[in-house]
């Protein structure tokens, strides 16, 4: 599955919270390696992403991943890795390597397999030094890397990153940008940092819960700037 991504389909899927419509019904297919998502605060980006891994269930319509309805899944879709907007909420155990191992333990790997996987994923980012660090002491950039390791350790087919360059300096931002560029996994990147998605062939622009553009980066960004003006 890795590197190919998944076949994601929105079939008239929309989300309301009480009277407030967070996402208007939407029909859309997603495939390809890199997809950007942009829009104003509150425009529906995070809601859109949460539909894909089933964290939010559609109020109308349905969302399928490889043909399986996400509403039928008891928990989030295993093939979809999700990095939250605030990565500090994402690290569950106090020590980094324990946190990475945590997601694997429940999947029935042996102790040796788990250790190998933890080391492997840390090595992939040259982040071996993080293994024994306390999660709450990490700088913003380090937190982002730790969260990525925990999610990638379980081998998802596609990765969703919600504002991954928040609070990062130029160097850490470049690091994350490099990581994204180098991921063999498919990725959906939600961001206010327009340079991060500048080269993408497909960028979705949300506005007031509606898909306002589905176009190459330059075009979507131009529309976004009109909206924000």
């Amino acid at each position: 599955m890795r590197g190919i991504g998944l076949d994601i389909r929105f079939e008239g899927a929309g989300v309301s919270f009480g009277a407030r419509v967070a996402l208007q019904p939407l029909t859309l297919g997603i495939s390809g390696k890199r997809i950007g998502v942009i829009g104003l605060n509150g425009s529906g980006k995070t809601t859109f992403a949460r539909l894909i891994n089933g964290l939010t269930k559609p109020s109308v319509g349905r969302v399928t991943v490889n043909g399986r309805d996400t509403s039928d899944e008891k928990t989030a879709v295993a093939d979809v890795g999700f990095i939250f907007q605030s990565p500090q909420n994402q690290i569950i155990l106090p020590i980094v390597k324990d946190d990475i191992a945590f997601g694997l333990k429940r999947r029935g790997f042996t102790k040796a397999e788990i250790e190998a996987k933890v080391e492997g994923v840390l090595a992939r980012f040259g982040a071996e030094a993080l293994a024994d660090r306390r999660a709450h002491e990490l700088s913003g950039g380090e937190l982002q890397v730790a969260a990525l390791c925990s999610v990638l350790a379980t081998g998802p087919g596609i990765l969703i990153l919600d504002e991954p360059t928040n609070q990062l300096d130029l160097k850490n931002r470049a690091l994350v940008e490099g990581i994204i560029a180098g991921l063999p996994e498919s990725a959906i990147i939600i961001t206010h940092d327009l340079e991060l998605i500048a080269g993408f062939e497909r960028v979705l622009l949300f506005h007031e819960g509606r898909l306002a553009a589905d176009a190459p980066a330059a075009e979507a960004i131009a529309r976004y700037k009109e909206i924000a003006a």
């Binding site: 891994n53 964290l55 928990t75 989030a76 295993a78 890795g81 999700f82 939250f84 605030s86 500090q88 909420n89 994402q90 690290i91 569950i92 155990l93 106090p94 945590f102 997601g103 429940r106 999947r107 709450h136 925990s150 999610v151 379980t154």
Partner: protein, 202 residues
């Protein structure tokens, strides 16, 4: 968070909070002096009238008392099974009267009045160097502000479990919740000091 204060202008509303709290305390002590059933019944009647005067619609007034009254009634039932009926009735009447007067004070005193009163009560204690009376209002305000935030963070951490396909267990949920919350405490404390809100403390 909705407080139990009821807007109004009854006698009890107009009494000073200090007088109300003082009376309630004295009342609580005096109630236990006598075990006379007639006297206690009259007391319940009087406190019930006082509670009626608060201005709550009848049904609302009852609904508020229900949880506490139920527990008092359960105790009375117990006593009735094992003891003579007089012995069951005395605590029932006592606690009911206390409950009625307490509910009346609560319904006729606003949160602000209460906080001002508690602050004034703590003022003399400042000389011990242990408390700063104004901190009470600050602490209570902080709690009210933190509750929704903690609930929000709880939900975020639950979702983090789900997103990674993990079962949500109390221990793996509480640990990050508490650690992250404690970490916030440092930042919030710095923010309070930066705004010079507690001038005289280092």
């Amino acid at each position: 968070m909705q407080s139990l204060y009821v807007e109004g202008n009854s006698v009890m509303h107009r009494l000073s909070p200090r007088l109300k709290l003082l009376s309630l305390t004295i009342f609580g002590v005096v109630l236990f002096i006598s075990g006379n059933l007639v006297l206690l019944s009259i007391t319940v009647l009087l406190t019930a009238v006082l509670y009626r005067m608060v201005g709550l619609p009848f049904a609302d007034g009852l609904r508020r008392l229900r949880p506490v009254f139920l527990t008092i009634a359960v105790v009375a039932l117990f006593n009735l099974i094992f003891n003579p009926w007089q012995e069951a009735l005395v605590p029932l009447l006592r606690l009911t009267a206390l409950m009625l007067l307490a509910a009346t004070v609560t319904a006729t005193t606003s949160i602000t009045e209460f906080i001002d009163e508690v602050t004034a009560l703590a003022r003399p204690l400042e000389r011990t160097g242990w408390v700063q009376a104004d901190d009470i209002g600050l602490a209570l305000g902080l709690v009210l502000r933190f509750v929704p935030e903690i609930v929000g963070r709880y939900q975020a951490i639950r979702e983090a479990h789900k997103a990674r396909g993990l079962k949500v267990r109390p221990t793996t949920l509480l640990a990050p919740l508490i650690i992250l919350t404690l970490k916030d405490a440092d930042n919030i404390a710095a923010a309070i000091d930066a705004r010079g809100i507690r001038r005289h403390v280092s």
